[in-house]
């Protein structure tokens, strides 16, 4: 079969793996979107900008912060950034939710979309102004340098690490929401907030924390992306459209759906790059159109 397609089995496996890595970014990002949409009914357009913010904070921590505060030796290492950047972005998002987004819940969710879109533009504009549009380079952390050579194909350790961590975080999030008591409370709170409030549960707090956690996931993906891709002010807006397509294909709000389609579409995109590279930037959207025609609620979605 491989000979027919003109690709060796090794090359095919390599491309599947490369696709899986992009897929795990799609999964992480669309997971955050699905959580926020599924539980809060907010179409969170800031997601791309927060992903950029995560990567930018990581880069700033390693290369800029020391100079700014007059201690050039100071470097925030990768592993610290992996926790710190999501925390900062999560806190920022909570402020946004408390001061702005909260006021729009009683309106159509298009208003939430417009607000978050506006915030995304402001964030991107600010970083573009401060750091320009040229890419900033973030080195692969020393402990994850190098790679495995299997059958003539080279697998960088860092990419394997990204797939592993991303899958772990995706599974943990799914497990938390679908299988734990707190998760069921969360779901109940969005289905019937009044009832839950009557039972003495602080529903607004749950909503705020959920939004913060969903946004922190975007920043987490940003930290993972920093050593692979270029860190730029526009990296989020380049990815967000694809991620929205993933969410639509998976089914708006379906958590398992967003994870599985994220991974699947990464692989599809990777294979397009082998067989017809020119179409790689549109393959996901072609699939989106087909899915929307056949199954308007998405592959895993329920009609609301």
């Amino acid at each position: 079969m491989f000979e027919l397609l003109g690709v060796s089995p090794q090359a095919f496996t390599a491309q599947m793996l490369i696709g899986l890595i992009n897929g795990s970014f799609y999964a992480l990002l669309s997971l955050g979107l699905a959580v926020i949409f599924g539980l809060l009914n907010v179409i969170n357009f800031t997601h791309g900008a927060l992903y950029m913010l995560g990567a930018m904070l990581t880069w700033i921590g390693l290369t800029q912060l020391g100079y700014w505060i007059g201690m050039p030796e100071l470097e925030v290492p990768y592993l610290v950034a992996l926790f710190l950047a999501p925390l900062i972005v999560g806190a920022f998002s909570i402020v946004v939710e408390k001061t702005m987004l909260k006021r729009l819940y009683h309106l159509d969710h298009l208003y939430g979309l417009l607000l978050t879109f506006g915030i995304a533009l402001v964030l991107e504009g600010l970083f573009r102004h401060w750091f320009g549009v040229l890419g900033n380079s973030y080195p692969v952390p020393d402990m994850l340098r190098g790679g495995l050579r299997v059958n003539g194909l080279f697998l960088p350790y860092y990419r394997l690490w990204v797939v592993g961590v991303a899958l772990l975080v995706c599974f943990a999030t799914w497990y938390f929401i679908e299988r734990t008591k707190l998760g069921s409370l969360l779901r109940a709170g969005t289905e019937n907030p009044r009832l839950l409030q009557a039972l003495g549960v602080n529903v607004p707090l749950i909503i705020t924390l959920t939004y913060g956690a969903g946004c922190a996931l975007a920043a987490f993906a940003g930290v993972l992306a920093a050593p692979i891709y270029q860190v730029t002010a526009v990296m989020g807006s380049e990815l967000i459209i694809v991620v929205f397509a993933v969410v639509v294909i998976g089914g708006m709000g379906s958590i398992a759906g967003s994870i599985l389609t994220g991974l699947g579409l990464g692989i599809v995109e990777g294979l397009t790059k082998v067989f017809y590279p020119e179409a790689s930037s549109v393959s996901i959207f072609v699939i989106m159109i087909i899915v929307l025609l056949l199954k308007p609620a998405g592959l895993f979605g329920k009609v609301r």
């Binding site: 490369i18 549009v133 040229l134 990296m235 380049e238 082998v274 590279p277 930037s281």
Partner: protein, 404 residues
């Protein structure tokens, strides 16, 4: 009302040009405008360093010419054509600038050249790369000083094949610029006895190059040629390093690259790479001397090829005025095109079409261990003779050459 205003401006400009021929120096001074990208995407390549270089040229020349003062003004194009055009006009009309130097990015260079041509003033292009500047779009008042895309394709291609690396695979940006660069380089590679094993085209502004690079890697080609630019080039190089291509038998050759990009990427990820420039600070003693003085004036950063070009262009323009005794554009241009240039940094001749023909340099990026400091990034692997790096006049489409 508007019409009369425009005609007044035009008449004023014509008057200024008309009187300049009879007087020794127009406005009793030589005014030089540095028109460059001071804050945009190419500011690290030319930008504020170009102003420093021009000021150094003026002070090395002695600060005055024919007993009259030399003034420098500068303006920011942000690498945008519309800004470049309006700033060039402003410089010529309001500041009475005799010559503009700089112009990084093709679109803004062509815009400024057009204004210069209309007003019959000199434009010395140092930063932009496109061949059309002295080919299809050439004009009598423009000199293309440092390098062009012909040199990048032909110089790098042939030079890399000459080092014994014969088989190529291209990773190409899927639009006109990438296609042309791939086609031109392929021709050169084949002509030099090399072989092109294939290519893969990627959409512009791609984030992930791993798939394309893996294909290039599995092709077994000795050279992976990057026929892309800017962010796409930097992204491909970064990921080529990550995928273990750097340091293997395969070489990654970016066809458009600057030392500033290497500094941004770091030597760890770019070591061993080849790229072509018109000038390198560490090539010989006179270059190093200039670079040391430049660094003292400019935050310790070594000059790029383009910034050295600004110095050379400014200095030789002043020498021409001194020699012909006037700042009249036609006389200055005639002198520049008839007198060989050798200023310690650049050596060569300016041809009829305005192309400054000089040697180019194929650089090889050092490893972090070989590098002594952050400016010490490359060695000169090969000097590319001027004749190989310049479009032959017989193939030129420039109207000054063809006469039509």
């Amino acid at each position: 009302m508007k019409k009369t205003l425009i005609s007044q401006v035009v008449a004023g400009a014509l008057f200024a040009v008309g009187t300049s021929a009879s007087a020794q120096l127009s406005n009793d001074a030589v005014n030089i405008g540095v028109l460059t990208d001071l804050s945009g995407i190419y500011s690290a390549i030319e930008g504020p360093g170009a102003v420093v270089a021009a000021e150094m040229a003026v002070s090395d020349f002695g600060g005055s010419v024919l007993g009259k003062p030399i003034n420098i003004t500068s303006a920011d194009t942000q690498s945008k054509a519309d800004l470049s055009s309006s700033k060039a006009r402003e410089m010529f009309e309001r500041d009475n600038v005799d010559m503009i130097v700089g112009n990084v990015s093709t679109a803004s260079a062509l815009a400024a050249m057009e204004v210069a041509d209309q007003m019959k003033r000199v434009a010395l292009v140092t930063g932009a790369a496109s061949l059309p500047i002295t080919n299809e779009r050439c004009n009598p008042y423009t000199v293309h000083w440092v390098y062009d895309t012909y040199a990048l394709a032909h110089g790098t291609g042939a030079a890399v094949v000459a080092t014994g690396k014969k088989t190529w695979f291209f990773v190409t940006a899927d639009y006109a610029f990438g296609h042309t660069l791939e086609r031109d380089t392929s021709e050169v590679v084949k002509a030099a006895g090399g072989e092109v094993l294939g290519s893969v085209k990627h959409p512009i502004k791609t984030t992930d190059f791993a798939s394309y690079l893996a294909q290039a890697q599995s092709s077994g080609a000795q050279v992976i040629g990057l026929a892309n630019a800017g962010g796409d080039t930097i992204g491909s190089i970064k990921q080529a390093a990550e995928l273990g291509i750097m340091g293997s038998d395969q070489t990654v050759v970016p066809l458009l690259m600057f030392s500033a990009d290497i500094q941004a990427l770091g030597l760890q990820e770019t070591q061993g790479m080849n790229f072509t420039v018109g000038w390198y600070w560490d090539y010989n003693e006179s270059n190093r001397k200039f670079a040391e003085r430049f660094m003292k004036n400019f935050k310790g950063v070594a000059p790029t090829s383009v910034q050295a070009g600004v110095y050379s262009a400014t200095l030789n323009y002043l020498k021409a005025i001194q020699a012909v005794g006037t700042d009249d554009s036609d006389k200055v241009m005639a002198y520049l095109k008839s007198t060989p240039i050798d200023d310690g940094l650049f050596k060569g001749v300016i041809r009829k079409d305005g192309k400054f023909e000089h040697d180019m340099y194929l650089l090889q990026v050092k490893s972090p261990k070989q590098s002594k400091n952050r400016n010490d990034i490359a060695t000169v692997a090969r000097v590319i003779p001027a004749a190989d790096a310049t479009l032959p006049l017989s193939q030129s489409k420039c109207k000054l050459v063809t006469g039509s």
